[in-house]
């Protein structure tokens, strides 16, 4: 990988800590080369799958001569095919992702770091990665590739991108679901500020396309607990709408609503076997990923 280059959203030293961990698909994915992931097709592999009665045209190299010797019948040995993964990292690039409080990384920056490390991990295990930028709709979808040059391009693209505009995550996800032809893994990195039912529909669409979906719900801590005090005028970063509130009076209700939204999103994801990871920006992204990947592998 282009070690001589430096990236804004990728720190090789931190990524190296995660180098021994792999991000394996939990379901069959359709790859284009042999890899670590289970493919829906049977093919040449070291791992035996089942016997099938010989049919004319079958390659005689796969006849199981031991079975013929015992039963005088011709059976073909079939093996699990393993393939590489096509993963799509979908990053929310709406302006709300530019929010960051208290000198912490903005949500977009945090998401870029996550995306960079994930791309590195996947290409490191020969998986193909593509990058989807989500805004009011799908803004851009790069082709999947596992080459370092591709990752380099991805990282440069992230650096160039400035979160801007009003986002519509459900629409963008629907479009992305339609655009991804082969089933694979979709990693959505967003703050998910959309109506919950619409988000769930969009995710359902992804699942319908038989993608494995992983969600990184990026939040600034001050979004979970209202940070303001006293009488404040708050402007929406995406819509520029403004509201004047007595922060002390609405804080409890706000906190309650956020907690309800988070709990609901978490529950909906679990019900749909969508992996949900809450990424609060006051936790270092590499520690978050390390913990996540370790948990995913059943390690403590």
């Amino acid at each position: 990988m282009a070690e001589k280059n430096t990236y804004k959203y990728f720190q090789p030293a931190r990524a190296a800590k995660l180098g021994k961990l792999s991000l394996l698909a939990r379901q069959c994915v359709e790859g284009f080369i042999t890899g670590l992931h289970k493919s829906p097709n049977k093919g040449i592999s070291a791992e035996f799958a089942e016997h099938r009665e010989y049919a004319p045209g079958d390659d005689t190299r796969h006849l199981d001569w031991n079975v013929w010797g015992r039963s005088d019948r011709y059976y073909i040995k079939q093996y699990e095919q393993q393939t590489n993964l096509r993963a799509c990292i979908a990053l929310d690039c709406s302006e709300s992702m530019a929010y960051g409080d208290g000198g912490r990384l903005s949500k977009y920056e945090y998401g870029c770091f996550l995306a960079g490390v994930l791309a590195y991990l996947m290409t490191h295990q020969q998986d193909a990665v593509s990058l989807a930028k989500l805004g009011s709709d799908l803004q851009d979808l790069s082709p999947a590739s596992s080459t370092p040059a591709h990752v380099d391009r991805m990282l440069r693209e992230l650096e160039r991108t400035v979160p801007r505009g009003c986002g519509n995550l459900p629409v963008a996800l629907h479009t992305l679901a339609d655009r991804l032809q082969r089933r694979g893994m979709v990693v959505v990195i967003s703050d998910f500020y959309s109506p919950l039912d619409e988000i769930v529909n969009a995710l359902q669409h992804m699942l319908h396309k038989r993608h494995q979906v992983i969600i990184f719900h990026v939040l600034d801590p001050s979004e979970i607990f209202l940070p303001f005090d006293g009488q404040v005028s708050v402007t929406d970063m995406e819509t520029a709408a403004r509201i004047e509130i007595d922060a002390r009076a609405v804080r409890d209700e706000y906190n309650r609503q956020v907690a309800t939204f988070l709990a609901s999103l978490t529950r909906e994801c679990h019900q749909r076997r969508i992996e949900y990871v809450r990424a609060v920006t006051d936790v270092q992204y590499d520690r978050l990923l390390l913990k996540y990947l370790a948990a995913r592998r059943g390690l403590k």
């Binding site: 703050d191 600034d220 404040v232 708050v234 402007t235 509201i243 009076a249 809450r278 990424a279 978050l288």
Partner: protein
């Protein structure tokens, strides 16, 4: 409910501040950019109603907070049970107007302080609705010694109240207060210097009539003066000597030093048209001394003047003491004897006459002497003769008719002095049969003993030196044997006869018997040296002079009165008090039969009066009991009241202090602390309601699952 600092209630106006702020104040909102308003919008809509209620609640809480802090600062006092809780509040004021209150206490006198205290009591916001005022020395003006709601009249009376020169009687005032309080529940305020001399607390407080009062009436002791003043005073004045024109007497002046330092004072006797007579007197601290000031009673009419001392002490009115008295005319003595036909110079009549009046005929016009003697034959003694004399000396008269005897009895009963001497002609049988029993000293016998150089003599072996006739004549009992009696009349004295001098054979030598207003003296030996050496001894002369001047020296000479006393006046008809000589005072008083009761507020001085054609002078001086102005200190006073089981006694140097102390301690609960606690609680509620205190714990942010 009362407030200790009611003026702080002005702070309640600040309650309007939160209302105005809630109505008109708009805070300047800080602007922030935020990721989304999705949840904020919803939160604002959902909390709209609650915030509206919350705003009103906050306004009320803030108003309440200010109100509670203001009330707490003003210290509200709720009255305790009983009549404290009632709307009616009565006060009985005991105002000490004795002249010890004239002592300075700061810029004002103690009396002025006390008067200001009473006026303050009537002017307070929580002033009693009914007040009675009792004065400790002067009589309380009618209508004020009972509870009255005419506060303005009370104020006027107190404002015009003057010092009394009579002795204070606080026990009577306290008893009066107890009586009033028993009828109508009331608080008692005593404004006084609490002078020890006046306040006999041991007697005053342990009076059973105060029992109800002790348990039910709060007593406030307001000390008008903190310290005992240094005072010097002339506390007594008396005449020593016969109050008879022509006599020399001593004015015995008692000067007292009621301070803690030794003093040397100049005591002056001031008489009209006479240079002052001065004497320097050393007065150690807290002592009294008597100094004699000689006065010649040579002039006619009243002797009036003053004795004063020059001091710069706390109480000035007792630095002078006035006196006025009228010397009696010269005492006329009749010596009844048969000496006219003899040239014997030792004849009893001559000896006696010479002892009574030593002057020659020429000297009688130039030299004053209080006794004028005439010799009368026994046969000339009759009722007419007795009317012209004050004393009769019978020298060895043999006997008398029953009529003369009766005249002598009447003479003695009306104040005359009769003195019998035995003698050669003395016949016990005749005396016993003809003389009225009221004149006889007892059973008489014929004279015994023989006369001559070798004849036996009896000595005097007992003398009643405490009797007025003999007092002060003997230094010791060794003086007695110098008298030798060879012949005497044995007497068995009756019960009403007082033996003044006895012989060693137990027979009386000298006797005295009260008859009406007069006196009868008996000497059982003769007034001549032939029967005894008595006329030659030092006793004889003073004894006969004292007997002659008996009525002039007997009893107290009424020379000075205390305001409030009844002054008997000589003369008849209505009294008219005149503008007086330079040191006399105008007097007001209530005329009474044969005298006047002088108002106790009349300033000390000489009072000249006239009644018809008769003019007279009497003197008024302040009651000396007030001069010792040592007062109780606070602890001592409080201990005495507590020891006497007074349940609610509060003491202090001014009314406000006493009432404040009482309010805190007894009059009711001070709600300040509770209000302060409520204010703190309200503040916490306000903080919670305004969400300044985040009472909810932040929920942990779960990561994912």
């Amino acid at each position: 409910m009362t407030f200790l600092s009611p003026w702080l209630l002005l702070g309640l106006a600040a309650v309007a501040v939160p209302v105005l702020l809630h109505m008109f104040w708009k805070s300047r909102a800080k602007a922030y950019a935020f990721a989304t308003l999705m949840f904020l919008h919803s939160a604002v809509v959902r909390t709209a109603r609650r915030r509206k209620i919350q705003n009103w609640l906050l306004m009320l809480l803030r108003c309440g907070l200010i109100a509670m802090l203001t009330l707490a600062a003003a210290e509200p006092i709720s009255r305790a049970g009983g009549f404290w809780g009632g709307k009616q509040r009565n006060a009985i004021v005991v105002l000490d107007d004795s002249f010890s209150m004239t002592a300075k206490a700061g810029d004002m006198s103690a009396f002025e302080n006390a008067r200001a205290g009473v006026l303050e009591l009537t002017a307070r916001g929580d002033a009693p609705s009914q007040i009675a005022v009792l004065l400790t020395a002067g009589p309380t003006p009618s209508g004020f010694a009972r509870l009255t709601s005419k506060i303005a009249d009370i104020r006027q009376m107190v404002s015009s109240a003057a010092i009394s020169y009579a002795h204070a009687s606080p026990d009577a005032s306290l008893a009066g207060a107890a009586e009033l309080a028993a009828q109508t529940p009331a608080e008692v305020f005593i404004f006084s210097d609490f002078q020890k001399n006046s306040f006999n607390l041991q007697k005053m407080l342990h009076n059973s009539s105060l029992d109800f009062f002790k348990k039910n009436s709060p007593v406030y002791l307001i000390r008008s003066r903190k310290d005992s003043p240094s005072n010097l005073a002339i506390t007594n004045l008396s005449v020593q000597g016969p109050n008879v024109r022509g006599a020399s007497v001593n004015l015995m002046v008692t000067a007292s030093n009621y301070s803690q330092a030794d003093e040397t004072v100049s005591v002056e006797l001031v008489l009209p048209d006479t240079p002052p007579l001065r004497k320097m007197l050393d007065l150690p601290a807290d002592t009294s001394q008597v100094v004699a000031m000689p006065v010649e009673l040579s002039q006619n009419g009243e002797i009036a003047g003053q004795v004063r001392m020059k001091t710069d002490d706390a109480i000035r009115c007792d630095d002078a003491r006035f006196f006025a008295f009228t010397p009696r005319p010269v005492v006329r003595v009749a010596v009844i004897c048969d000496d006219e036909n003899t040239d014997d110079p030792s004849a009893a009549g001559r000896v006696l006459s010479l002892a009574l009046d030593w002057r020659t005929d020429a000297e009688k016009t130039t030299t004053p002497w209080p006794i004028n003697v005439v010799q009368i034959k026994p046969s000339d003694l009759n009722a007419t003769t007795l009317k012209t004399v004050d004393a009769v000396f019978l020298c060895g008269v043999g006997g008398m008719s029953p009529a003369i005897s009766k005249n002598l009895v009447d003479f003695a009963r009306s104040g005359g002095v009769v003195m019998f001497f035995a003698g050669p002609a003395f016949d016990a049988g005749v005396y016993s049969s003809t003389l009225d029993g009221r004149l006889l000293p007892g059973g008489l016998a014929a004279p015994v003993g023989s006369i001559g150089p070798d004849a036996p003599a009896w000595k005097v072996n007992s003398i009643d030196s405490a009797d007025r006739l003999l007092g002060g004549l003997y230094q010791s009992a060794d003086d007695f044997p110098q008298m030798n009696v060879q012949r005497f009349v044995p007497v068995k004295p009756s019960k009403d006869t007082k033996v003044l001098m006895s012989l060693e054979n137990s027979f009386p030598l000298l006797m005295r018997k009260d008859v009406g207003h007069g006196e009868v003296f008996w000497c059982t030996t003769a007034a001549t040296p032939k029967w005894s050496n008595l006329p030659a001894t030092g006793v004889f002369l003073p004894v006969v002079l004292r007997a002659a001047l008996w009525q002039a020296t007997g009893g107290d000479v009424p020379m000075c009165y205390v305001p409030g006393d009844f002054v008997p006046l000589t003369g008849e008809g209505g009294w008219r008090f005149l503008p007086q000589i330079s040191y006399t005072k105008k007097v007001t008083g209530k005329t009474a039969a044969n005298g006047v009761v002088v108002d106790c507020r009349t300033a000390p001085g000489l009072v000249e009066y006239s009644a018809g054609n008769f003019n007279g002078v009497f003197a008024l001086s302040p009651d000396p009991a007030e001069s010792d102005a040592e007062c109780y200190d606070e602890d001592e006073l409080l201990k005495k009241f507590h020891a006497a089981d007074f349940a609610n006694v509060y003491i202090g140097d001014d009314l406000g202090q006493v009432l404040a102390g009482a309010s805190r301690e007894r009059r009711g609960y001070n709600w300040r602390s509770l209000l302060a606690c409520l204010a703190i609680l309200t503040l916490l509620v306000e903080l919670a309601v305004s969400n300044r205190i985040n009472v909810k714990q932040k929920a942990a942010v779960a990561e994912g699952s």
